[in-house]
């Protein structure tokens, strides 16, 4: 498995865990009060921070383990990695745009800031997950 594919898997696995954790935390808090009164900012920031740090940490540890088996190719990337990365970015972009349009619509109707922030967050989360899935599928099944 090449360096960029390991990164895609790391992002996918960490993203699935931290996003699920965020949803559970918010839903738990929403069971005690109206959802718009939930203090969503701290768990959202923790989710983003832990997601970034964990992805980097796993990628480094995985790279060290992989480097023990293949010292020459551990950090290399090439034209196929760049092609797959571009394809993943295009997939991600569409979901961010959809979320952005959703945010504009919510602002237009004067929605609560909870819904505005979480719509944007959901857009980032879905785009990251779908982009990672697209990259992993391209590495496993092929990109032609």
């Amino acid at each position: 498995m090449v360096y960029e594919e390991r990164n895609a898997w790391s992002g996918l696995l960490v993203g699935a865990v931290v996003i699920t954790a965020y949803v559970i935390i918010v839903l738990q808090r929403a069971s005690e009060r109206p959802v718009t009164e939930v203090d969503w900012l701290p768990p959202m920031l923790w989710t983003i921070g832990i997601g970034i740090v964990a992805t980097i940490a796993i990628s480094i540890v995985w790279g060290i383990v992989a480097g023990a088996n293949d010292p020459d190719g551990v950090g290399r990337s090439d034209v196929r990695d760049r092609d797959i990365s571009r394809m993943g970015s295009r997939v991600e972009q569409s979901f961010v745009v959809i979320a952005g349009l959703g945010v504009i619509a919510l602002c237009a109707v004067g929605a609560d800031v909870f819904w505005i922030a979480n719509t944007m967050f959901a857009g980032f989360a879905v785009s990251a997950m779908v982009g990672s899935i697209a990259r992993v599928v391209a590495y496993r099944r092929g990109l032609v």
Partner: protein, 76 residues
Amino acid sequence: MVKPTLVSNRIRAHREGAGLTQAELAGRIGVTRQTLIAIEQEKYSPSLELAFQIARAFGVGIDDLFHYPEPSTKDA
């Protein structure tokens, strides 16, 4: 579902004929071994530039390595 490519190649046959390992050929053309495997298995279509590099590594023309089917009569 990834759409399969119509381009087929004979890179593996040429590589084995030249007595090269996947790692050796990958090193010569500047890609990872995994990318060469993907190309040989027709899971990744190389760029024109990379196709020329592969052909040059064997001292053959691109047509000797890559094949694209002729259009059928009903397509023509």
